[in-house]
Symmetry: C2
Subunit: 655 residues, 2 copies
């Protein structure tokens, strides 16, 4: 099978330069032609020409107050001792705010500054009462043009209201209408035609069968286009057939200013995108030295830029941001805003392949005074790494990685304020934490709970290093039968830690539905036909396993699979479901998630360890109030099954 | 005429408290009920419940690479020296990235790591080539599950994808679809019914006659609602008729969660809003101690909150932000984001009425190291003060004002970055500056030019105080006949200033169309039937007037109106148009704006004075490059009329 040209190793900088210069050179990508729309509907659009006022506002002298319009010479000499009477209709006219001044009148006296002489009391203030009032009496002369809004006070005809290339805000709409613009010229929205391809791809909502992949990349890319101010034309899913892909690209070139093919950008037996683009036009570049996102294609068909975007969701997101956003912005006459940069400390060492610029997704939290960046999953297929990420750290192509504690620049995906309002929880995972995150967001919308799952021991180490506000932990001390306390004393001798119980939860052996191997308890692990799957050293569940084996006098070397380790409850469940093992120890929620049967083995205590320095902060008190008082949260935990909340929120240890 | 209850003097804090507590207490305004929408169309909406994954992603083990699926035990023992052959179809199956693994297969070997033995070369890679390949040869054993995306690698069924109260981003849409959600529950968008009222109010585009006021407030308020995530129902304009207003409020209560009446909130003879609300329901409050925005009405009709919003555009904007935004945010389960605060130095003294909290609009620029806040027009009717403002400074009710140089908190309306990219120009106004602002925005979209018009002398004083990057100046030294230089030497002896010519422009006498008084030149100012209007002391145009009078040997005291001063070219034009004066000296553009005739009197030099410390900055060089090289800009200036650009951009003085 021949290698495709994407094994080119163009650097990112060079790739961007080639792409933009083909589009018209970095500074000179011309805005698209303007279109005319109603000014009232122009919120968020970009002006395509300067707007000069067509009319002044006000365009006649008008009263700035409710009162009486007068000619100021008529008021000369009025004083407290010698009030002056003005005859209504001739020397004075009642005006409401905004009423035009009759010719010759050039001042307004406020209603509260006049005494009125009526023929009779008006019944209804809604009727103009001039007729009934014969005179007004004033005790002070008016100054010329007092309480008058003169022509052009707000807007003067011909003056610049808005410049070209301006994003229209609510007040701007007012100014456009006030200055006589009913229709205005704005930049046309760039149209992006997105073609999802792949024989295995199905629309969301389709009844899924093995091998199907739900099509969602086009919706993510399309939503990005909307955010950038463009319009999206999403074409139907095209199967991996060369001619169909070619025909669809040609069709898309008619409707889109930019055409996006997703995916088929790689070099597999069914990756036709590059060939199709080459056949129809020209490939500017295939393959960029970035990770993820390497197999991107930059092409040119029928005088239209065509992007071949890789299929993995993270690769798709990153390459689309890099190559599509600048084009869509510049077509609107906008500059590309650079992301906000936050300096943070990397919480752990990261090795990165030499020769590729890596876009590492990180979660960021402010723990004490430091911003701590913790890498999340690096897989190009893990969309949730983007959902959960607070930002990107770029590791340069010429770097082999970064050390723990290294200061890094994080390109933020969330605001700095949001990050400062995030509680960082590192440690063992429990599904109740998900519910807690949810209840927190619901009750305290400005706060977030971010959890990273590294096992109980890893969590305590994070507290030690000052990288987390909370560690979830369920470490059983085999000697004392106690949970967590001895480990905290040992690992964090100098730190005052408050231990708050979250739940007691059931751990059990997971087996396939119907328990085909008829496993009853730990003793069955010695059977020849039973393969076990273990958790990693340092996991609370691993300690629980070891305790049971010891109590039953079982030698681990007689347990088949004891040496094979998974890192999460779900890893155990997945191993059982897929037949890698027959059973493993995990929580009920993991069994439920994959439809496995569950044989209860032990009830264990799962606590939250919180350093005293954070315990009293507003953020932590908010989360504790939910644990302790929010009955909705507590009921949701019970409904998960396998939980006992009798100690939930209680302080079980301070030291 | 009786005073309305709005003469209540409730403080802003108390008013907000009354309003929100009536709506459900500050923290407890409940979100509106949820609605179900398509996940793909949910960008920007707010989740109304936690989203747990319905299916795992992937939901079957799949290949992470293009290559061959194998059973890893079959690969044991393979090495460079003893390669192992695997029979296609039985021991190895070709897989593309994403293909499901056949049951029992549990590792993938990358395509580049195998040698293949074919029966014949395939013609077309688009056909699965398994049939033609008989064996693959491997030189290394596979590790279990290598290059396999196991079930749940990205998303595990039951895990939390998004919490409640989360604003949906593009990646979130991907995660929802990937985890099996085709429809989701989001917060319903609050509906705001807006009723524009006023007999004098007309729709934009109507042929205007004296007394008409263009209705635009509803479009500004409606656009704010859109920005806050709500929907708008705008009702037709209702004239000032009590029964019609009542009926429309009742109708609006059926369609809106919040009803807004604009205006009629004050106490004029045609202000029915308060009476109508009181008649239909209850007035919570009428009148708040703020400026502008005092006559706001907070009411309650048919279990709906009703806001009576004042008619002046700035009052409307400020009160709507204060009283509508928190409600609309909280109905979506969101928190009210507080505005970004920037510390700045106030450029001039501001007196403010005791007992009213004033919302002062300011322009802000970063000049050197300081952020300088300069108040713009304070009139409640000057919408352009909002268009031009960069932020608000709140002057507390108990303060009588702020001194020049006072440090103030500016609640920003633009981003800090935009403000840092703003060139501050203070001094004399010229219409060419508007065009320059426009060309700058067009060519350098991230830069802005902000100009404040305080006369030539005021501009030089601003440079002296370090409050501006540029001063526009046209000061004629009568003794030398030179422009600007002697003034700079005198006013700024310690500052190195570079003087760049912008234009030569014609000043002339403005007269009514057709010149009814047959004014020919300055000498006519001595005529008994001619009233002049003057510019303020310190204005370049004033100096020009004085020079002419002196040269002609005319005594100013013989010029009727010499002592009456206007502050801008447009002020002169307006005075002539409205008959306050018969003529005055101003530039051609002002005559054109109001349709006046123009009698040329003198050509004067209008320069930009730039301190050397700013001259070489990127921002200033950008604007100079437009002045010097941008032919579009230069042509637009010529088309204004009355300009000579022969020295445009030339340095005329350095000192």
């Amino acid at each position: 099978m021949k290698n495709e040209i994407y094994l080119e190793t163009t650097s990112l900088t060079e790739a961007i330069e080639k792409w933009l210069s083909r589009l018209g050179s970095e500074d000179a990508i011309k805005p698209l032609p303007a279109e005319t729309i109603a000014a009232k509907d122009s919120l968020g659009r970009i002006t395509a020409e300067p707007l000069m006022a067509k009319v002044s506002s006000p365009f006649y002298h008008s009263s700035a107050m409710d009162g009486y319009a007068v000619r100021f010479p008529d008021t000369f000499g009025a004083s407290e001792t010698f009030p002056k009477k003005l005859k209504m209709g001739e020397q004075a006219v009642y005006v409401d705010t905004g009423d035009p001044l009759t010719d010759g009148f050039n001042a307004v006296i406020m209603i509260e500054d006049v005494n009125i002489t009526r023929s009779r009391k008006p019944e209804d203030r809604s009727q103009k009462s001039d007729e009934e009032i014969e005179h007004i009496e004033i005790t002070e002369p008016a100054t010329p043009w007092q309480h008058v809004r003169v022509i052009g006070e707000d807007i003067v005809a011909t003056e610049l209201i808005l410049p070209e290339n301006h994003r229209i805000r609510p007040v701007d709409i007012g100014a456009m209408l006030a200055s006589g613009h009913v229709e205005i010229k704005v930049r046309r929205k760039p149209k992006v035609a997105i073609i999802p391809t792949g024989t295995e791809i199905v629309e969301p909502g389709t009844h899924l069968k093995r091998g199907d992949i739900i099509e969602y990349n086009s919706r993510v890319l399309g939503s990005l286009v909307s955010e950038w101010g463009g319009d999206v034309v999403r074409l139907g899913i095209v199967p991996d057939r060369f001619d169909e892909i070619k025909a669809t690209i040609l069709k898309a070139c008619e409707s889109g200013d930019l055409v996006v093919v997703n995916a088929g950008a790689s070099a597999g037996s069914e990756d036709f995108t590059a060939r199709a683009i080459a056949d129809l036009g020209e490939i500017i570049l295939h393959g960029v030295n970035i990770k993820p996102g390497k197999p991107v294609i930059l092409g040119w068909v029928k005088n239209r830029p065509v992007l071949g975007i890789p299929g993995y969701p993270v690769s798709a997101y990153i390459t689309f941001n890099i190559f599509a956003e600048p084009v869509i912005r510049k077509w609107q006459g906008l500059v590309l805003e650079s992301a906000e940069i936050l300096k943070a400390k990397l919480s752990r060492q990261i090795a990165s392949p030499l020769g590729q610029e890596e876009f590492l997704r990180v979660k960021v939290g402010k723990v004490g005074k430091n911003f701590i960046a913790t890498p999340v999953s690096r897989g190009a297929g893990v969309l949730m790494s983007l959902v959960r990420a607070d930002g990107f750290v770029r590791i340069p192509a010429m770097s082999e990685g970064l050390g723990a504690g290294a200061e890094v620049d994080v390109e933020l995906l969330r605001s700095r304020k949001d990050i400062e309002n995030t509680i960082v929880c590192i440690g063992s995972h429990d599904n109740a934490l998900d519910l807690l995150a949810n209840s927190l967001k619901k009750k305290y919308p400005k706060l977030s709970l971010s959890s990273a799952h590294v096992g109980s021991m890893g969590g305590l180490v994070s507290l030690k290093r000052g990288e987390a506000h909370i560690a979830g932990t369920h470490l059983l001390d085999e000697e004392t039968g106690e949970y967590n306390m001895s480990f905290i004393r040992r690992l964090l001798p100098d730190k005052k830690i408050i231990l708050v119980n979250l739940v007691y939860r059931e751990q059990g052996l997971l087996v396939l539905k119907g328990n085909p191997k008829n496993i009853k308890d730990f003793k069955d692990l010695l059977r020849d036909d039973v393969v076990f799957i273990n958790r990693q050293a340092g996991a609370g569940t691993r300690l629980l396993t070891d305790k049971h084996l010891r109590e039953l006098g079982m030698n681990p070397s007689n347990v088949k699979g004891y040496e094979k380790e998974e890192y999460t409850h779900m890893g155990i469940a997945s191993a059982v479901l897929t037949g890698i093992a027959d059973t493993g120890l995990a929580i009920l929620a993991a069994a439920k998630a994959l439809g496995l049967d569950f044989i209860p083995v032990a009830k264990e205590r799962y606590d939250l360890a919180i350093p005293a320095e954070f315990y009293t902060t507003e953020m932590l008190q908010a989360i504790l109030s939910i644990i302790r008082e929010d009955s909705e949260f507590r009921n949701m935990v019970i409904n998960l099954g396998g939980y006992d909340i009798s100690d939930m929120g209680n302080v079980v240890y301070e030291g």
